[in-house]
Symmetry: C2
Subunit: 386 residues, 2 copies
DNA sequence: CCTTGTTATTTCCGTGATGGAAGAAAGTGG
DNA sequence: CCACTTTCTTCCATCACGGAAATAACAAGG
């Protein structure tokens, strides 16, 4: 089954690969592109010509040391970042976060709307309203991406989303008929991973893992420079309910040592509330743990050890060049980063290469940006994926 | 860097994909191949013609229910299994195991030779001698594959093999000049994984993991139907030194709870020897554990729990459709399979899909067969990989 | 200032793979 | 014997690609 999303820029396969190469790997000369894609110089002239005419690419000044080099100077090509704009939305259980980005995935504008109801039609209305507001006074966006937690089928239908209570909602169609824009719907984590792979810290990496900590746990795997598509369990979240230590402490969900119970923000807050009777915010818990209060320190320490174990296990089995830690819960690293690092070391072979771990505070707008990247991939470049 | 190994059957990319499709997925009609590879019917006539003329493919009788179907009957194509023969060798620290296989990777003959010395030249002499013996009275083999534990570069040079004491040995060249046959050298585990992916239980699977237990631990990952190439750590074996429980029992290598210490045959024998003073064989240890002797039962139980944990973690992070357990040490499953299964369950989410675990007793000839498959891939089909 | 050398890009053309249309082949069912 | 269906082949227009040669744009050196 191929979901050949129509791209209104009908690029040939050759043109597409050139466009993606330039988009992802910055300004490149024709010769350099020919080398990377293993094409002849003649082909490059042919392939770049229509892309330049379309306004997608432009010849730019050569950067860096142009002195001392012999021969005809190269003429690097770059994408025209604001030749097209894209909308990205992330739907949570009570809010829609939206961004407007360039082709380079730079955020131009942002906007939030709280969600009064979860009826698909009303949510689509909210999205349409936000679309109007975000694109007011600007050229018409080229596409729209939506990220939703849960199972998404064919990049258009929300198959199952527990927190929204949706099942088989044709969200892409609903939003398309209200906005007239081409729409791509995808799992939120998948979109976030794609964004990091194309424009973030995963740029140019062959093996790369994204781990997000927030209301839940997100896990994304990139191998061979391509995101490994979700399947089965993972879509429904079971895949992420890692049991880290079956003989570990009993956790709120009644299971021993599950990563979700030890690591996600709601569960950490639950643990503190159950012990102290007070409902305390996540950042406050981190602060008091850092200040040395025993109870929060214990909970945070356990979370840090859980994270370290998780990272070590991922490193052991997938051997990524880099692991990105993102989400609203990465404040944990600031407070207990050393515990995490030590736990990773304990769970790895002493002579194994150290894990490259990058932490990035990210908010919901970064998730919305991920959805916009999906729109870029599918609608502009027609990047066919499963 | 591309190691374009010359294939003396110069197949075009189209022909190659057709040949591989038929080789791996059994007899297929032209229409079926066209559907799978997304080609036009006309292309299929063109692409199959030279393959049939070469004697690589042949039209076979249609199998199964041909009754009741309308239209012209399809004319399935199949590879001519014994149109070509291949040699595969596995080099251990004291023995060379060799097989002669067909194009379908069926073993036609086997032969072992103990290794008197580990000098590269002498090993190459042994291989040349075995080549002569295995192909005596038979048509000349089309290619030769060699599997070695350790780091192999460019499919020809043994970069580092601790147990042989080799470093930068151009094994392919040494054997080529003695036999006149095209030679492919590869890491033994990599070769074994390829064989299982093409002709074994991994046939047609998208996500697939091979875990071997023997003198060491082997780990191979197949995603998107392709083996994930080794890199860095894993080549040198560190990647496989998984620490399963940093607070677990102290093991012979002085580390707590490493998978190699708990699970590999030499280490299990070491543990029993250290406790009882007697040097007991692996199978005997398993037998006495099954009979209820406390000391072996404890060691075997610990190994089973280690294996279960390992499998669960792999399942959690890679989510394969199937995990193949192979090697000389899989007898563990027969004795303590229930412990393994229970441990897997303990380490997974209760609603997660069960892990499909397949056990296959394999000896060193299966490893040699894997090397022959590498020869098929590279030499006949020119399957370009990293 | 002109020549030579070097590298990047373009032009031009032959080759070869591809898809699509039309037709032939080989059956089934009435 | 005649539709009808499905598979496979033939034939042809198209088009993407590589390779060779030409051109462009610079540096270095006389």
């Amino acid at each position: 089954m191929r979901t050949q999303a129509e791209s209104w820029l009908p690029l040939s396969p050759g043109e597409r690969s050139v466009a993606i190469e330039v988009l992802v790997h910055g300004p490149l000369s024709r010769t350099e592109i020919a080398r990377r894609l293993d094409l002849s110089p003649g082909s490059l002239t042919r392939l770049t010509k229509p892309l330049i005419q379309e306004g997608l690419l432009v010849e730019v000044e050569e950067a860096g040391a142009t002195e001392g080099r012999q021969g005809r100077p190269s003429q690097p090509l770059d994408v025209v970042a604001d030749s097209r704009h894209f909308l990205g939305f992330k739907i949570t259980d009570d809010t829609v976060y939206g961004v407007l980005t360039t082709l380079r995935s730079e955020i131009v504008a942002r906007l939030d709307r709280s969600l009064a109801a979860r009826d698909p039609g009303e949510v689509a209305d909210v999205l349409a309203g936000m679309t109007r507001e975000l694109s007011r006074g600007r050229p018409r966006p080229a596409g729209l991406g939506i990220g939703v937690g849960g199972l998404v089928e064919g990049r258009s239908v929300v198959g199952e989303s527990p927190f929204l209570g949706w099942r088989g909602v044709p969200l892409a169609a609903l939003v398309e008929e209200r906005t007239g824009l081409p729409v791509v719907v995808e799992n939120d984590t998948a979109a976030f991973v794609e964004a990091e792979t194309w424009f973030g810290v995963g740029r140019g990496l062959d093996r790369f893992v994204v781990l997000t900590i927030g209301a839940g746990l997100g896990y994304g795997l990139v191998l061979g420079g391509r995101r490994v598509p979700y399947s089965g369990d993972e879509d429904r979240g079971f895949g992420r309910h890692w049991i880290l230590d079956p003989y570990g402490p009993l956790t709120p969900d009644g299971r021993r040592g599950s990563a979700v119970s030890l690591l996600t923000i709601p569960n950490i807050r639950y643990q503190v509330r159950a012990a102290t009777g007070r409902d305390v915010g996540y950042e406050e818990i981190l602060a008091s743990a850092a200040a040395g209060e025993p109870m929060p320190a214990r909970v945070v320490g356990e979370a840090a050890r859980a994270l370290g174990t998780l990272v070590a296990q991922i490193a052991n089995f997938v051997m990524p060049q880099k692991i990105l830690l993102a989400g609203e819960g990465v404040g944990l690293m600031k407070v207990a980063g050393d515990v995490v690092e030590n736990t990773i070391r304990d769970n790895r072979h002493p002579r194994a290469a150290p894990v490259v771990l990058e932490t990035r505070v990210s908010d919901f707008h970064d998730w919305a940006r991920g959805a916009a990247v999906l729109a870029i991939q599918v609608l502009v470049l027609g990047a066919a994926q499963v």
